[in-house]
Symmetry: C2
């Protein structure tokens, strides 16, 4: 039973709202930090997990301060583009980038992601998302982002296991 509980804990990200314009996501991955970093920044690997099975086209990915990124997801419900720019890139521990969905252009959130080496071969990811307004934060929470994110991270679990 303990094993099942641990697996369940790992499979779902912990989502909290520490401030009225923020979302905090915490998720543990069963892989060393360098491997998690690689899976999150390699344009060959990102399509294997980010789109949760949907075709994902990496139109641009410049993983450096000032660089731009743009992903286009082709799903059964249509085509969705996402884009942004990197504010800080410190491999393999920290990345700060903007995030914008084509469906709500000009609504920009800031994602700050840190990867913490847990010392036992596992890595803790923490992402804090900062919005311009509480309304935008609430709209994002209500968009189904949590379910989609959990599916992406479960696919990332599988990518990390294959890489090992």
């Amino acid at each position: 039973m303990t094993t099942i509980t641990e697996q369940e804990t790992m499979a779902k990200a912990k989502v909290t709202t520490p401030a009225d314009r923020e979302i905090r996501i915490e998720r543990i991955f069963n892989a060393p930090r360098e491997r998690v970093w690689e899976a999150m920044t390699d344009p060959e690997l990102i399509p294997e997990w980010w789109g949760r099975g949907n075709k994902l086209v990496i139109e641009k990915l410049e993983v450096k301060r000032g660089g731009h990124w743009r992903y286009v997801e082709h799903g059964p419900e249509g085509v969705n583009g996402f884009e942004g720019r990197f504010r800080e890139v410190t491999p393999p521990e920290r990345v700060v980038q903007t995030f914008e969905w084509d469906g709500m252009p000009g609504h920009v959130l800031i994602n700050t992601t840190t990867l913490e080496d847990l010392g036992d071969g596992r890595t803790k990811l923490v992402t804090t998302s900062l919005f311009h307004t509480g309304m935008e934060r609430d709209g994002f929470l209500q968009s189904g982002m949590e379910g989609g994110m959990n599916q992406s991270y479960e696919a990332l679990d599988r990518v990390l296991a294959k890489m090992g």
Copy 2:
């Protein structure tokens, strides 16, 4: 003396900070609203005033919801890129767009600009800038933006007079 006072009032924008993450700019132009809108959105006219005499290259300008813009200013102190995306475009009265300077990539502010027809051939521009944090707002205020903006708007005065 009255005339001089009126000219002075028009020449300087009124800059206030209505909230801790906001800057509000108010400026009256001696031209009808349609003409001000045209000077602010036409890629042939923008270089005549935006760069305050510096060469300005309009790399991209898609004045529509979801469209991107990017201007590169070539000045004596170097090359500065600025870019963003349009959230709302309602000619000739309202435009909402993101604004980012290459020197601080991933720091994004939202500019909401309205043009009000004053009914006497003049137009009142109001721009509200919303930042993610108060620190970013304060940094922007301390960057010399006010002096640069006043120079741009004085150049815009001249462009509007030529168009008339």
